[in-house]
Structures are given as C-alpha cells and as structure tokens.
C-alpha cells in the first residue's frame, strides 16, 4: 500500500454516508428514509428493479437533484452548495449515457476532461482494456454502436482514477467478453484505492464483484448487508425429482414454488434438518439443495409481504 492510499487517508471513515434521504416527485416517492454508508475501497452493490429509486439516489449523491430531507456526507464533508469541487474526486457513469453525439469519442473525452482538475491518467489503459480502436474513437458518437458508446462512458467515468466511482447500470450494451474486461477493470481500480458504487438490476453482475449490497424497494432500503450474510439468512430452495406419477409430498416447513419436467422446486422456510428427514422418507429419485444465489435473496425481499407481492414480481420481470 502506498503512502497516499485512500485507506490510509480515510481510515474507517466512510467515503460516502447517506442518512434518512428523502425525495418526492410531487406525490410520487423517489426515495424515502434511505440510509447507508460505503466504506473505503469496497465495491458496493445497489440493487433494485427499474423504478425502485436507484437512479434517484445516485442523482441525489451527485446533487443533480435536491433532497427534500436527509444528509449526504462525501469524503467526510456534508454536501451543500459549496461541494462542487468534491466532484473532481468522483467518476460518474449515468444509467442512460447520452454524450454529445456530433463529437467524435476522442474529442468528447478531451472536451469533458477539461472540466476536471485531475489529469486523465488512466485513459490510454482503459481504452486498451476496453478494446476501443483509434478508428472507433475518431468516429462521431452518433455513428457508434450502443456498446462502443458505453465503453466511452466508462472511460470518461474512470480515466481520472476517481476516489469514488458511481456507476449506474455500467454493463448495459456490453457483450459478455467486454463485461468480463469491465469487471477486471473494477477489481484493478479497487486495488488501486477506488471505492465503487455499483447500481444494477443485473444480479449476476453484482454477485460477481460486490462484497456488500443494499436492496431498495419502492424508494425504501429493505436490506443492507454483506452478500454472504444475506445468503445465509435467505430461504433456500430444494429441488426434488420424484418417480413418475408420484404426487408431490408436502414437506414440513416448505412451500412448493413450481413444478416442471418432473422436478419440484420447494422454498424451505424453516429449519433444514426436519425437511431433509422428510425427504429421506419420501419416494424421491434425486435431491438438489443449491447454494442460495442473489436472485433468491432478491426474490425473498421482493415477495415478503403479500400486499406487495404482485407489483414486486411485476417489477422483477426485467431481472436477468
């Protein structure tokens, strides 16, 4: 660790702290009472389906929106009208990255970086890692594919090696190979001292890179824990294959979620051992007890109370 590593500078003080943040658009809830803290050098996942309040939170962090109530502390300073210089230490990629389409990628990067004091020290490295060729960079942005435009957005957000990178749906439009290259960039930046705030509705992406996640639902934070702790507390799934013609048995402490092609998927809501005992006594052909993944965690939070189940499920249709 070098002497100017942010961990040494910040110690255990959170890079970003949000307290009771509240934003309404008229009568419509944007976010309501959201509180969390992001520690130095972590990759923090911010999860939620479309319309849950992820982008509103991010826009409040960047002072693009003004909160109705609550407090945001960035690098130890409470955000106010004099906080503009702090944004030199932040990299931002919007969920819907829309650059000046008439400019070429190279000119756009040169133009935008002149608004910052920090030099674009990582630009060439990022361009190389994201395989942006000179030909692509010299073409007007309006003639580029969505994926190539997104790569330019990533370069713009990270080229000045920010202390905090706020990335909203960063892999939108990237092919699987480029997604892997992007995850490598995130890990590399983290090693070099950048804290990453990653907002996404792509659960596999968050699971791949984030150690801690917050889940937002209808503008309220419903979970804020390490991924491991969330998985431990999450109800597990039990997949049972029965002999042909057998009716699915009702195992104690479980709920049958679905059946397809002879497989019966149960949700284990209580302790595991009585269920396993019952399974052993039943006429089953095969049993699988998969590790809970983030989708299970997410679905558990989104299906918690019956009154909200239907709209919540509707909202998760876009999840991958």
């Amino acid at each position: 660790m070098t002497a100017d590593h942010p961990l040494e500078t910040w110690g255990t003080v959170p890079i970003l702290e949000v307290t009771q943040l509240r934003k309404f658009y008229g009568d419509v809830v944007g976010v309501d009472g959201v509180s969390f803290a992001v520690e130095p050098c972590e990759i923090f996942g911010f999860l939620g389906p479309n319309g849950a309040g992820k982008t509103t939170t991010i826009r409040l962090l960047l002072q693009l929106l003004h909160p109705d109530a609550g407090r945001i502390t960035l690098f130890g300073h409470e955000l106010d009208s004099g906080s503009t210089p702090l944004r030199d230490r932040i990299g931002y990629l919007p969920g819907d990255f829309r650059p000046h389409m008439t400019m070429s990628g190279a000119r756009f990067l040169a133009y935008m970086s002149r608004f910052r004091k920090r030099p674009p020290a990582l630009r060439e490295e990022l361009i190389e890692r994201l395989q942006l060729t000179r030909d692509v960079l010299d073409r007007p942005l309006k003639h580029l594919s969505h994926g190539n435009r997104q790569k330019i957005g990533i370069v713009l957000a990270l080229e000045h090696q920010p202390e905090l990178a706020i990335l909203d749906e960063p892999t939108l439009g990237l092919d699987p190979l480029m997604q892997e290259a992007f995850y490598d960039i995130l890990r590399l930046l983290r090693e070099r001292g950048t804290t990453l705030f990653l907002s996404s509705h792509v659960l596999s992406e968050v699971e791949k890179v984030c150690a801690r996640v917050a889940i937002i639902r209808d503008g309220k934070l419903v979970a804020l824990e390490s991924l491991e702790a969330l998985k431990e507390r999450c109800p597990r799934r039990l997949i049972v294959r029965l002999r042909d013609g057998e009716d699915p048995p009702a195992f104690p402490g479980t709920r049958l979620l679905r059946r397809d092609a002879g497989r019966h998927v149960y949700l284990v809501e209580g302790a595991l051992s009585p269920v396993l005992g019952a399974v052993a006594r039943a006429a089953v052909q095969d049993v699988v007890l998969p590790e809970p993944d983030l989708e299970d965690v997410f679905m558990a939070y989104y299906a918690k109370d019956d009154s909200a189940t239907r709209p919540a499920r509707k909202r998760t249709e876009g999840l991958t």
Partner: protein, 270 residues
Amino acid sequence: MIRTHYVANTLREHRTLFLFSFFFAGLFQVLILTLVVGADLLGFVEQFYNQLPPQVRMMFGEQFMAQFSVNGAVGFGYNHPLVIVLLTIVAIILPARHIAGEVEAGTLELLFAMPVPRRQIVFSLWITSGLALLAIVVGCWLGTACGLLLFPEARTAPWGAILKVGSSLWMLMFAISSYTLLISCHASEGSRATLRAAGLTLVFFFVNVAGFMWPTIDFLQPFTIFDYHQPQRVMLGEPVMAETLLVLGALSAVCAALALRQIARRDVPG
C-alpha cells in the same frame, strides 16, 4: 469565471449559422446602401408614400421618409425585419438549445456532474451568446463600411452614429438572448423554451407595431423591448442611446441574474 473551452466549443458547434449570419448581415447593409444611394429611389418612394392612407403612414412612422437619406438608410439596415429575424434566431437558439435542449438530450447531466459550478456553465453560455451576437453586429458594421467605401457620396454618415446603432441592435438581441436563457433555465425541453421565447418576442414586436397604428395603445410601447431600438432616430442625431443602454442593459442583467439563481436551485431530471 468563464469556461473558455466551453465558450469555444459552443461557438464551434454553431459556426455554420454564425458564419451565414455574419455574411448575410454584412451583405444586407451593402445592399441597403446600394439601393438608396446607388439607385434614385427617393422620388418614387415619396410619391408612393404620399398616396397611402394616414393610418398606414402612421404605422411606418414619422421618420419613414427620412430613411431614404444616407443616414436613414444606414439606420434602416439595422432595423430591417430580415436582420432582426436572423439575429433573433441566433439569440434564441443558443440559450434554448444549450440548457433546456441539453436537459432533454441528457448531456447537461454529464456536464453538471463535473466539478464545475452550474452557474459557471450558464454564465459562460450567456457570454457566448453575447459574443456570437456581437460578431454578427460586427458583420453589419463591416457591411456598412464596405457600402460607404463603394459610394463616396454616402460618406456623410457619421461613424459615431453607425457604431451606436450597431450597439443598439446588439443590446436588443442580447436582451432577447437573456430572457431566453431565463426561460431555458426553467424548462426541460428545448423546443418548448424556443417557442416560449419566440412567442414573447413576437408579442413585444406586435404590441410595438400596434402602438404605431393605434395611438390609444401607444402607452404599451415602453413595455416592449423594440421601443428601445430606434436606429433611425439615432442616425438622425436624437439622444435615445442612454435609454436603450439603461433599459436593455438592465433587462439583460436582471434576466441573467435570475437565470443563474434558477439553475442553481433546479433539479436536473433524467
């Protein structure tokens, strides 16, 4: 503080419009002088004018015939509807396109996420509009200068007055640009900001014209910006420039101050 690279980039983005306006405005001044000095129009127009009904003559104004002198022609060139429309387009497009238009396009979000105060961006845009309009007025001045070089008999026109009418035109257009900036800072769609600013300018224009046609409503004229741009009167030596500077200058400054206040307070929608 002005962001010079923002100013340069904005001017560069609209360079075709600016260059066209610069040359058009300049050539138009040459054309006006050519028509008035090069061809003897005075007798024909005076005969035609005297045959018009008194109400229509009132609409043209008491100074109408005076513009067929060299001084009047110069003044007319800085008040002709074509020149006014062209400069108004430039005055409205810049602030409407670069605040409300960029909110709509999503590019302002990126700019406002940079470590630059919003007020600096808006102030730089205000200065950019002023510079672009000044460049076109310089085109008018150069056109007038060319006209005076082409027609030695026209050199009686005083350069001090020519500079004043150009300044008056610039002040008028800068005022239009300033209230467009204020409208744009409240809006989230470029087309809507453009329509509102153009609508307000048209209202000012027609109220001013109506004031000439119907003396009963001429009390409304001082509430329109066009009442403070009187190039023919300036060319004829009337002392109206102080009023122009005071009213249009104050309007521009107040609108810009309100725009800066508004941009700092507003939310930038996604």
